[in-house]
Each structure stands twice: as structure tokens, then as C-alpha cells.
């Protein structure tokens, strides 16, 4: 068994696609219309085109808002992405106007930071121990 796909609920799929590709730097993998308005929309890392896909999932279910609001209030990220250098990535994204609610924090072997994805979620970036 392996993890092939994971997802984040997003307020607006078009806006999410822009943020996850133009700002974060992922690339679009699948974009298939589903129903009247929704899309099966996934992105992957350019470093791993065949790797785990991230589904930018519409927030259609009524419980999704309460769930996400509660997590965001407490600063809890919905997903974590690995980067080579959290400090460098923070500087790059901050320069692009991304709002961080936790600046880079060195905690022993792990360094993390948390930002707002503008689509209703908090995302953590982490530098994995060498």
C-alpha cells in the first residue's frame, strides 16, 4: 500500500490552482470537470511528477467549513510539505506576499513554518532532518 493522493479542501478551485502552482510552484496534473462546477483538480511537485498528488477539493460538504475554521483558529496545519530550507522558502514566499502565522522555528532537528494558503487552510513547511 502507498499514499497516492491526499487532499485539502479549498474555497475556490481556480484561486487554489493559482496559489498552488504560481506561488508554491507545484504543477497541475489532472483537471477533469466533475458535475456542473467542480473539477477533479490535482497538483504534483515538479521534483516528483509521478509522486503523491494533492487534490484541491471543493468545500461542498457543510461540515467542512466548521472543521477548517476550528483548525485554523488553533493554528493547526492541514498538510505539511517538505522543503530543502525553511528559512529560504520563507523568504521567497514572504516576498511573494504569503502570510505566515508561524515564522521559521528551529526545534532540534526539525525546522518548520506555517502559512495561510488563501483558500481556507494553513500549511506547514518543514525541513526534514538530513
Amino acid at each position: 500500500m502507498k499514499i497516492h493522493l491526499t487532499s485539502v479542501f479549498v474555497d475556490d478551485q481556480a484561486k487554489a490552482l493559482h496559489f498552488y502552482t504560481e506561488i508554491l510552484g507545484f504543477v497541475k496534473k489532472h483537471d477533469v470537470p466533475v458535475g456542473e462546477q467542480d473539477r477533479w483538480l490535482t497538483v504534483v511537485s515538479p521534483d516528483e511528477p509521478g509522486g503523491t498528488e494533492l487534490l484541491l477539493e471543493p468545500t461542498g460538504h457543510p461540515a467542512a467549513k466548521a472543521y477548517r475554521d476550528a483548525l485554523v483558529q488553533d493554528g493547526i496545519p492541514l498538510a505539511q510539505f517538505a522543503v530543502d530550507d525553511v528559512h529560504a522558502e520563507y523568504a521567497r514566499l514572504h516576498g511573494l506576499g504569503v502570510h505566515f502565522i508561524q515564522e521559521p522555528l528551529d526545534m532540534g532537528p526539525v525546522t518548520t513554518a506555517v502559512f495561510d494558503d488563501t483558500c481556507g487552510n494553513l500549511i506547514q513547511i518543514a525541513t526534514e532532518p538530513a
Binding site: 485554523v72 483558529q73 488553533d74 493554528g75 502565522i101 508561524q102
Partner: protein, 100 residues
Amino acid sequence: MADDLFKALADPTRRTILDELTLKSGQTLFEICSRLSMKHQLGISRQGVSQHLAVLEAAGLVETRREGRYKFHDLNTAPLRRIADRWLAPDASRPEENTP
């Protein structure tokens, strides 16, 4: 109020939370939990940390602030000054300083 303050300070985990807020004020619950587990190897549940924060807030040592959809915790050291004012004599009345 004084009882709340001393009760809040009597717990080592709560003092560690204050240490971390001294390093950086304005942390989310998640960041405080991360610091306690990663930096201090304290295995406390999120609910447990919330309860500690509630005690610190009741004592006036921590204040919460909502900013948009986020909630941040700030350090407030004013109650500690009242401890100093209560027992530490003001400079002018210190005998060694009154002596030429």
C-alpha cells in the same frame, strides 16, 4: 487574583509556556504545542495545553487575541510586577543606597 497568579506559576509546564512566550509573543495553540513537544520533549495533549493556557489566562499572564481567523496568545508580565511591588522595597528605601 493573587491566588490565581501563584497557582499559575506553581506548575513547571506553565512556566515553560511562559518561557516560550517570552522568546516570541503571539503564538497559536499549535505553535505552543510544537514548542513543548519538540523543544522540551513534553508529551502533553492539545487539550492539556489548552487547560494550562486557561489557567495562565485567568491569572492575567496570557492574553488571547483574535486576528482574522486566527487566535494568538500573548504574554502579559504586568501581574509579575505586582509581585515585585509587593515585596521588593523601592530603591529609595534600600538602606545600602541611603548610606553615602
